[in-house]
Amino acid sequence: MRGLCVAIADLQKLFAHGGQAWEPNGQPVLRTALPYLHRINREVDVNGVYGSRRTRRGEKCQERSNIVGGPIRPHGHDSGVQFSFLKRVIDCHSAKPVRTMSRKKTAKGKNSTSGTAAKDKDNGKSGKGTTGAEALSNGVVHPSRPSLSNSGEFYDIAFKVMLVGDSGVGKTCLLVRFKDGAFLAGSFISTVGIDFRNKVLNIDGVKVKLQIWDTAGQERFRSVTHAYYRDAHALLLLYDVTNKTSFDNIQAWLTEIHDYAQQDVVLMLLGNKADSTHERVVKREEGEKLAKEFGVPFMETSAKSGLNVDLAFTAVAKELKHRSMKEPSEPKFQLHEYVNKEMTKTTGCCGS
């Protein structure tokens, strides 16, 4: 657990660097074992131990991609507007904030770009013969025209968010509340495997599409679902304030996240079912304390009353959007501060 504390604390430090990660000797870390990662020329690496872990895991990813369908293929030509199935419109799956360090595989994205030329330079180093535009594929989508998401909504950038936490903590309910503004009282079924819903948010004039993945909470499904962790840009980790075990398991979840998610993943801890005052067994202070210990933003939510549901997703979207679009001179978006400020503003009771 201590190792994890250190890792997350380091993560925080890294954010403060604007997401640039360097080896202690000042060299960017290259993932030579993973061709598809070459496009990202920098890799988070805080200490030697970490680096080796990453490599090992990276190889694992590649192995997996082989069984699933072979290594990721090089790009087809961007043929403009008409879409053959070879034409890929970059989407959240391949979207990746450019400025943040990443281990993500990126080979499948490409896009038309606008207003992001500056970012190409960063990726130019990555070699592998990718063009500037293609190199951008590990970046966020900045289509010259807004992209049409599959739900028919236009969006500018897209991200992948995952909901994780024990079985029955309310992941699906939280998602449905956010997506449709409804509470599924007694009419929802347990999630088997993995499912997703999309929602487009307007963040400071930018249409941010969140593709939100809802996962099965049962432990044995983790070996199936953690395969997606590495593609997630943000993780919302939930526990149920009326269920002590779900709270106690948070540390195990953090370990899981540490092992499988990208190191720069945006992470937020949520204590759900905050409306259940009578059944509550985990105090808000306990959640706050744990969150502080691991350096992650925290809030209590209620899918039933709607408390902080929009805020949680919006905060994540803001952070992701900010990371991907900010100019070097811009100050870092303070997710913690934003969350704290917004909570005191909107709810009073749950603000810290």
Binding site: D91, N150, T191
Partner: protein, 349 residues
């Protein structure tokens, strides 16, 4: 829609929505957006089939206490087991009946034994999340299938400790209870499915599931290469789009009646049927899947292809599953399973 029907045919008075019950024969409430008109149309034809099959089956079973497996019975099963004989046939074909008879009192003994608290708690978490849209699973209904579901799952968890309880088993047991209306029979059918018919989908390592997902991938590569290419191109893992198909055996993926027809064959012919169904869905909708321009499109298409007329017309669909995918031998599947399982294990997932 119903008003329009009312208006145009005043003589025949009611619309399909008024004629058809809001709850289906299995206790499921029809969803808000249920298309009563096309359902009625479909049923008017299917009822004829059902009646014909029912007569044939009555003749087949007349004077027999046991049904021997034969080509004729296999053909009959593929054309659908009438609901009144379903429990009987599932029990006979899967060997569950034999187990039940050889182990009298075993089920009750499992229920009476001391329960593993953790197992019980895990099962409880899912009880109210199993078919909340089915009136038989309401806490207030009598008999309440939520209680019998609890019993079946707890008994099974103690019977097969290597599996315990895995999400998905709640839905499968729920269907078994709806059909058998008898928890002991449901228990032995669950035992047949998990213990003999399916590979190890539900054990903590879920190796059988991981393997079969990849087996499907390989089959798609051969039988629908375009789809395989799209999946590869957008780097969509098979587990993402098909894990529920395998774990829930198409419950909540396909319409109830279609699922039951699939299960008829599953109990009689084995797990190969799952691949037939999956391949049919994929191959039949190949053109649609190929329009995917991005990763989420692929996922959406895989959701879409499990809906609509093609899967609702269960009789036609079941004919399709034996023609559309082409030949599919048990040997091929077993060979693929062996190879891919080995690959997965060696990669230390």
């Amino acid at each position: 829609m119903e008003n329009k029907a009312n208006g145009t045919r005043p003589g025949t008075s009611n619309s399909a929505k008024e004629r058809i019950q809001r709850v289906d024969p299995y206790g499921f409430e029809r969803p808000e957006d249920f298309d009563y008109e096309s359902y009625e149309e479909l049923m008017s034809e299917y009822l004829v089939v059902l009646t014909r099959r029912s007569i044939k089956w009555s003749k087949l079973l007349q004077g027999h206490s046991k049904v021997e497996k034969s080509l004729k019975v296999k053909r009959y099963v593929r054309k659908g087991i009438p609901n009144e004989h379903r429990a009987l046939m599932w029990l006979a074909a899967s060997g569950a009946q034999e187990k039940l008879e050889k182990n009298p009192g075993y089920y009750n003994k499992l229920l009476e034994s001391e329960h593993d608290d953790k197992l019980v708690e895990t099962i409880r978490t899912d009880l109210h999340r199993t078919f909340p849209d089915n009136v038989q699973f309401r806490k207030t209904s009598e008999p309440c299938l939520q209680k019998t579901l609890f019993n079946v799952l707890v008994a099974y968890g103690h019977h097969n400790k290597a599996v315990g309880y895995c999400q998905g088993m709640n839905f499968i047991s729920g269907y078994l209870l709806i059909i058998t209306k008898d928890e002991e029979k449901a228990f032995w059918l669950l035992d047949a499915l998990l213990g003999r018919i399916l590979p190890d989908y539900y054990t903590p390592a879920m190796l059988g599931l991981k393997t079969d997902q990849e087996v499907l991938g390989e089959l798609v590569r051969v039988k629908a290469p375009g789809v395989w290419q799209v999946m590869t191109q957008h780097n969509v893992m098979w587990t993402l789009v098909v894990s529920r198909w395998f774990i829930c055996l198409f419950i909540d993926v396909l319409p109830v009646e279609t699922v039951l027809r699939i299960w008829d064959c599953l109990f009689y012919e084995g797990s190969k049927i799952i691949f037939r169904v999956a391949l049919t869905l994929i191959k039949h909708n190949q053109a649609q899947i190929l329009t995917a321009r991005a990763f989420p499109d692929v996922c959406d298409h895989f959701k879409d292809i499990t809906r609509g007329g093609f899967v609702e017309d269960c009789h036609a669909f079941m004919q399709k599953i034996f023609t559309e995918p082409g030949s599919l031998s048990k040997a091929t599947i077993n060979k693929l399973r062996d190879t891919l399982r080995e690959q997965i294990t060696s990669q230390d997932f």
